[in-house]
């Protein structure tokens, strides 16, 4: 067995060790790498929020569970911060049962940071089961689908909900999701009710959703941890306020390691002559 064949038989635990180090070292040492210029789909979401007028309503659906938090939580945090800083009214809902607690914590944290008041500037309405029925129902009557907030306050006693009856009263809908829910939002809220819609998604979902971006069914798309970091860059955030940027160095080194592994694996495959044995 020559050196190339030995390399192909490399114990995969060495790969695991490499990935662990590639992630841990940049985070522990706070190793900072430049981010590059923000992608146009991220800038489109930022510009849309920038152009909205104070008091307009942004409906944000937090449709992910803790497994997708590293990518989606920084995105949602940056967008909510931007909206509250622009004096927009932020309403969060969730079609994922685990999303309601994530929405509540995120909204409370960001609102405290920017001095926004729960119930006046923002509110969390919580989880409702039944995806398509909820999305279609919001187009008919938001107070019917959500008669109370997530913590039980009647919706008509919450100032931020004043005059918010249907999608007609929502200037922008943003869905942060890991899964198939964006397709339901596009088909039902976007197409049926002409609701302006933006998405924050995990990077693996991007190829599925780019067609809708190109057909202008989406006003913009925040894509993975890089999208979160780009949005934070546009907002001028740094340090602990920019968790997306903190994670990007680790992601860059880990990606680089995977690319090196693929290249080395292919060189070893051809150099060892295994391709002739197929």
């Amino acid at each position: 067995m020559n050196v190339w064949e030995r390399m192909l038989e490399l114990d995969r635990r060495w790969v695991f060790v490499g990935i662990a180090l590639a992630v841990i070292i940049p985070i522990v040492t706070a190793y900072a790498l430049p981010l590059g210029k923000p992608a146009p789909p991220t800038v489109a979401v930022y510009d849309y929020v920038e152009e909205m007028e104070a008091g307009e309503v942004v409906l944000i659906s937090i449709d992910y569970s803790p497994s997708s938090m590293p990518e989606l939580h920084p995105q949602a945090g940056a967008v909510i911060r931007h909206c509250l800083q622009r004096d927009l009214r932020v309403i969060t809902i969730s079609l994922n049962p685990q999303g309601t607690a994530l929405a509540r914590d995120l909204l409370a944290t960001v609102a405290a940071d920017v001095g926004a008041e729960d119930g006046v500037d923002c509110v969390n309405l919580g989880f409702k089961p039944g995806v398509s029925q909820v999305i279609l129902g919001l187009g008919e009557s938001i107070p019917t689908v959500y008669p109370t907030t997530a913590d039980g306050r009647p919706i008509d006693e919450v100032p931020v909900m004043e005059g918010v009856e249907t999608y007609d009263d929502v200037a922008l809908l943003i869905d942060f999701a890991a899964g198939n829910l964006p397709f339901s939002w596009i088909a039902m809220a976007g197409e049926r009710f002409n609701q302006d819609l933006a998405l924050g998604i995990t990077a693996v979902m991007a190829t599925d959703l780019y067609p809708y971006l190109q057909s202008h069914q989406l006003v913009g798309l925040i894509n993975g941890l890089k999208g979160a970091a780009e949005y934070e860059l546009l907002l001028g955030l740094e340090g602990e306020d920019a968790p997306g940027m903190l994670g990007m160095s680790a992601q860059s080194i880990a990606h680089l390691l995977i690319i090196v592994l693929v290249i080395v694996g292919n060189i070893a495959y051809f150099a060892s002559g295994r391709h002739r044995r197929r």
């Binding site: 430049p34 019917t144 880990a254 990606h255 292919n266």
Partner: protein, 223 residues
Amino acid sequence: MRLQVPLVITFLAGVFMAVQFFIPHALIQTPYERLLEWGRIVAAFALVLGIASLLRTHWEKIRRQHRDWAYSVVAIGSFVLMCVVGIGWGHQRGTGFDWIFRHIQVPLDATMFSLLAFFIASAAFRTFRARSVEATLLLIAAVIVMLGRVPSALIVVFGKTGLGEQLYSAMPDISEWIMNFPTVAGKRGIIFGVSLGAIATALRIIVGIERSHLGGGGGAAGP
């Protein structure tokens, strides 16, 4: 009757939901809104049904002492604990339910998903080979898109040299081009195919040709 009644309900509901889209009159929209409310109630019950089914499956595993039955004890125990704590003391911030969610469920869920990174790296090393022209094209596109997502990796490799700087600024644009044109072209074809298939399946269900949703293991009733 057990077959005909569900088929008639499916036909009427399917036709009504298609027709209401084109008729904004109150005569149609009022029952449509009522149907949506029923749908939300049914969805809530479906959640209960799902929980009951999950508990029954795990209970059977424990009762029959199947392989790894101890995990089923953990699943049922966790479910009971969250129910007792949540129903007994509420689920708002600062409650026991919230503490368990944030300090146990969130790290466990994130850890499970993080393991994927290790397996993806290992699989990429062992199986991502340029065995054919198509596989080579896929491999090159994948490397470019990955580098476009993390262009700073090029600074790590080439340093802040002329080549490093040029690749650093160009790679995101090349990656974006791949995503916007070849990828979207292929993806759009798939979407058309899937959508036509979904419409055909919906029509087959509405007119009663496709009956597998009624249970009993039966599939299509005819051609």
